[in-house]
């Protein structure tokens, strides 16, 4: 298991995802790759964040913000 | 249907500036935020409007309503009556709406109002409300004067937790009603 996947699986254990977003543990993606292609905004945002921050050369704050905020704004429309 | 009460409560009554430092600044604490931990056993009012209301009732019960001298400077605390004692941020306290109504009733009772002409449309509503506010300011003025004199006689008078209550109970009307009300 890579660090990315490990962090992802730790984060996806949070109860809020079950209680508020009604996501069952079974439906959770197992790898960052799966998570990145998720259609669920919160899962995909988390994946984008991890993917970005665990890269050897993380992007700048502004770029990161553009990627995630833009994705979220569009998915909310 | 026309409603004088609704109109009246949007007003901000004033008081004479002479009382600001000696009464409002010393007897009322503008707490903002949470009140309940700061109330120190009756020795203070938790808000300016509480002192104002208190002084009004003191004036009312002692039948003291001197109008302001012409040149007296009037000040207020820019808080319309309708927001006095509104729940808002006052945790653990009660709403004052009914006290507002009682004050209003007292003002209507104590003010010479030409309501007939008002209904006929010959007098403006605004003028009537103005008169009500004037009465309110007069009684408050009377009450504040009484409180001030109390303090002048004994600067520590309000250090007792019962002082403010006693002043109400021992007012002119209070002594009358004591005889008539059910005691036991």
């Amino acid at each position: 298991m890579t660090r990315k996947d490990d962090i992802l699986s730790n984060v996806l254990k949070h109860e809020m995802l079950k209680d508020k977003y009604h996501l069952s543990q079974k439906a959770m993606p197992k790898t960052i790759k799966e998570a990145l292609s998720s259609s669920n905004p919160i899962i995909k945002s988390i994946a984008l964040l991890i993917d970005n921050l665990e890269n050897t050369t993380p992007t700048s704050d502004t770029v990161l913000r553009n990627i995630i905020t833009q994705y979220l704004n569009e998915s909310a429309l | 249907m026309n409603n004088l009460f609704d109109k009246w409560k949007t007003k901000i009554p004033k008081y004479s500036e002479e009382f600001r430092a000696i009464l409002f600044d010393s007897l009322s604490k503008k707490f903002g935020g949470s009140e309940k931990v700061k109330i120190d056993l009756g020795k203070h009012f938790s808000n300016n409007y509480e002192l104002y209301m208190y002084a009004f009732f003191i004036g009312l019960y002692n039948e003291e309503s001197p109008s302001f001298p012409e040149k007296a400077k009037k000040v207020d605390f820019s808080h319309p009556i309708q927001y006095w004692g509104s729940k808002g941020t006052r945790l653990d306290r009660k709403d004052f709406t009914n006290l507002q109504e009682y004050m209003f009733m007292a003002l209507v009772a104590k003010t010479e109002l030409n309501l007939i002409d008002l209904e006929k449309g010959e007098i403006d509503e605004e003028d009537i409300v103005k008169e009500l506010i004037q009465t309110m300011e007069s009684y408050t003025n009377g009450g504040l004067t009484i409180i001030k004199e109390k303090l002048e006689d004994n600067p520590n008078y309000f250090l007792q937790s019962t002082s403010f209550l006693n002043m109400i109970l021992d007012s002119k009307l209070g002594l009358v009603s004591k005889k008539t009300q059910v005691l036991e």
Binding site: I7, N10, V11, K13, H14, M16, K20, Y21, I42, S45, I46, L49, L53, L64, R65, T69, L72, A76 | N2, G33, S34, V37, I39, L41, G42, K43, H44, F45, M53, F57, Y61, G85, L91, R93, L99, E101, M105, A106, V108, A109, L115, I116, E119, K120, G121, E125, S161, T162, F164, L165, I168, L169, S171, L173, G174, V176, S177, Q181, V182, L183
Partner: protein, 715 residues
């Protein structure tokens, strides 16, 4: 990694080459004060962490003395280690060239590394990188301790963070909290900016924003206060516990303290029941209306009069109009010039009922069909129904009253009529409360008497203590004032806690208010984005905390299991890691507890065993993390123990896994007959893997360093 050998050459008191062939497990190095224990520790420390500064202070005076002018010699410390079955050695050294008159030339140091593969090949490598490979810097920090005071690693503020970075997954989550906060912040700003564009709410929004800001500042301040009160309580508790040590009858003291606590609790409970917020009750309980009845009467009479006057004028007016309108005239005639009741009184329902029953319930007379009364009633009803039907207004007819203020005033009057009974009860209620408060105050007085009695008893018990009389008065005096202080601080703590809770509640409320404005004005997508980013932040932060807590738990469990096995003074308590967060900073302070009670002033030997337990726990964690064991080196860690306890201690840590090097001054004595320093026979009962004795070559002159030479005897 295991250290196989440590060699010292011309390092301070170690003249020439001195070697320590170490074993895995427990290595004990005995030595009297001033005979080379600490110098050994300093040599190893210099090898691991030393730099080029003050090299001249490390040179053996004897070596310098024995060397001819212009000749040179070497100062060197080296270790041979074994790591994964490979032998490695690291040496740090410098050259001293003797000049005239105490002047000598000293070179910079050299750090050399040699690696030997399993096939026996040796090759030179960079010493610094080799050192970090065999014994990583971070781990080294938790491996060497000089004296008892250094054992408390949590004295250092960053210790916890270092530990986390070394051993816990929590470190991976650190950066996420930061980035998430950044993203959430930007999303909040986007919503705020959108809301601010809306002119309508600008004022209120601004006000709420600044109020929230103020409240947050307030919250921070309260937390600082709360924290300082807690620290004061700990200090006072510590002093009390220290004083209690002197008391002979400790059990009785504890019982009395418990009783005092109960009584104090009772007093505070009763005091809570006493409600003396009379000024607040003036408003909240409407006590201020206690004298209002006559005024209310005045009001309702005035309104009643007004009503009558109004109807009078209306009928007068109607009569005048009625000359043109036959119908209205007829109506006024019918009433013999009296003022008619308003149309609609009695109500439609009552009128219909009376018609049905053929009975006028107003005058209490029968009204059979066809009678004058019956006709009157049906006419009244008809009149009412007509008045309700939409009438085409005759604009030519003038209305007398354009406005109706009276109606509302009447309603007000009627609605408060019912409340009169309550107003009349106020005086009674006030009296009742006064009576209640008075009797509670009496209760308090009784409790205070009981409290004083207990306190007198307590003084007697404290009086029977093990310290001298003049000091006793001091303790006694302070003991009571400390107790009083403690009670006061606890009250303060409760107050601050309450303040804090209120403040938090208020922030929540204001934030909700503010967000309601957002909901009305900002774009839906902005709000949704903000919500998700908030949730993501919460998820990451809480995951980090979970990891962090998990680590602390693990450390606590391990420390306690070692602590239990050390079992110094048959202490049955546990180590508890007290986590504190102040502002952004988090700290963890290990405490000793027994039956839930914190020991604020444990004695040094308990403290030492706690610290050693924690250190061993850390080294176990290091083993789990890197699957490698590292040695620990302690110089005089147990000086507070005394020989018996040290004996016990050594036998216990002998059982723990990794390599340990312990320098102690115990088990040495001067033989009375020969006047020579010898090792006591008790030492033969100490379980150990290897033991050494560092001892100065006799004779020596302690004022002349060039006579000093420590020999290493392997036992």
């Amino acid at each position: 990694m295991i250290i196989k050998k440590i060699s010292l050459e011309n390092f301070l008191c170690y003249y020439g080459v001195k070697e320590f062939e170490l074993s895995n497990g427990l290595n004990v190095i005995l030595g009297n004060n001033g005979e080379g224990k600490t110098k050994f520790f300093e040599a190893v420390d210099w090898l691991f962490n030393g730099d080029d500064r003050n090299l001249d202070l490390l040179v053996s005076a004897k070596a310098l003395h024995e060397t001819e002018k212009n000749e040179s010699f070497r100062v060197r410390v080296s270790i041979d280690v074994e790591q994964y079955n490979e032998k490695k050695s690291i040496a740090k050294s410098f050259i001293v060239k003797k000049g005239g008159k105490n002047e000598s030339l000293i070179s910079n140091y050299m750090l050399e590394g040699v690696e030997e593969t399993s096939t026996g090949e040796r090759c030179q490598v960079d010493g610094k990188s080799l050192l970090n490979r065999v014994f990583p810097f971070q781990i080294r920090k938790y491996s060497m301790f000089k004296g008892e005071s250094e054992l408390n690693i949590f004295k250092n503020e960053d210790a916890l963070i270092n530990l986390i970075n070394l051993f816990s997954d929590a470190k991976h989550f650190e950066k996420y909290s930061e980035k998430c906060a950044f993203l959430r912040d930007k999303a909040e700003k986007a919503v705020e900016d959108a809301t601010k564009c809306d002119k309508k709410n600008q004022g209120l929004y601004k006000k709420l924003t600044s109020e929230i800001e103020d409240l947050k500042n307030e919250e921070y301040k309260i937390r600082v206060h709360l924290n300082s009160v807690e620290e004061q309580i700990a200090k006072i508790e510590g002093k009390l516990q220290e004083a209690e040590c002197h008391v002979k009858n400790a059990d009785a003291l504890e019982t009395i303290n418990k009783r005092i606590k109960i009584i104090e609790g009772k007093i505070s409970d009763i005091n809570k029941m006493i409600d003396e917020n009379y000024t607040t009750s003036l408003f909240d309980e409407n006590w201020i209306l206690v004298n209002f009845e006559p005024i209310q009467k005045e009001f309702s009479e005035k309104i009643e009069k007004l009503n009558i006057k109004k109807r009078e004028l209306q009928s007068e007016f109607d009569r005048q109009i009625g000359q043109k309108e036959g119908e209205k005239k007829a109506k006024t005639e019918l009433l013999n010039n009296l003022i008619p009741l308003p149309v609609g009184v009695p109500s439609k329902a009552y009128m219909e009922e009376m018609l049905k029953d053929e009975f006028c319930k107003v005058c209490n007379r029968p009204a059979p069909k066809g009678s004058e009364q019956y006709d009157f009633m049906s006419k009244r009803l008809e009149e009412y129904l007509n008045s309700q039907a939409p009438v085409e207004e005759d604009k030519s007819i003038k209305v007398l009253f354009e406005n109706d203020y009276t109606n509302r005033l009447s309603t007000l009057s009627v609605s408060h009529e019912d409340n009169l009974a309550n107003l009349r009860k106020i005086r009674f209620k006030i009296k009742q409360l006064f009576r209640f408060n008075d009797s509670r105050k009496k209760d308090v007085e009784e409790q205070i008497l009981a409290l004083e009695k207990e306190k007198a008893d307590r003084e007697r018990i404290i009086g029977d203590s093990s310290i001298g009389a003049e000091k006793l008065i001091d303790v006694l005096k302070n003991y009571n004032s400390w107790q009083a202080d403690k009670t006061l601080r606890y009250k303060e703590k409760i107050d601050y806690q309450k303040k804090l809770d209120d403040n938090i509640e208020l922030i929540k409320k204001k934030t909700e208010e503010k967000e309601n404005i957002d909901l009305k004005t900002a774009q839906t997508f902005q709000i949704k984005t903000r919500e998700i980013l908030r949730d993501i932040e919460k998820i990451f932060v809480e995951t980090k905390e979970k990891k962090f807590d998990g680590f602390i738990d693990q450390l606590e469990k391990k420390s306690n299991s070692i602590f239990e096995s050390l079992n110094i003074e048959s202490f049955t308590g546990t180590i508890y890691f007290n986590k504190k967060v102040i502002g952004e900073k988090m700290s963890v302070i290990p405490e000793l507890q027994e039956n839930g009670r914190t020991f604020y002033k444990p004695n040094q030997s308990l403290l030492t065993s706690m610290h050693i337990s924690i250190l061993f726990a850390i080294s176990e964690l290091a083993f789990e993390k890197s699957e490698e064991e590292y040695p620990v080196i302690f110089d005089a860690p147990t000086s507070s123990f005394g020989e018996d306890k040290t004996f016990q201690f050594l036998n216990l840590i002998y059982e723990t896994e990794n390599q340990k090097i312990l320098l102690i001054k115990d088990f040495l004595a001067t033989d009375k007959t020969s006047n020579k320093l010898v090792i006591k026979k008790e030492f033969s009962n100490v379980n150990r893997n290897k033991a050494f004795w560092v001892v100065l070559e006799r004779p020596f002159d302690k004022n002349n360093l060039s006579t000093i030479n420590t020999n290493v005897i392997t036992l």
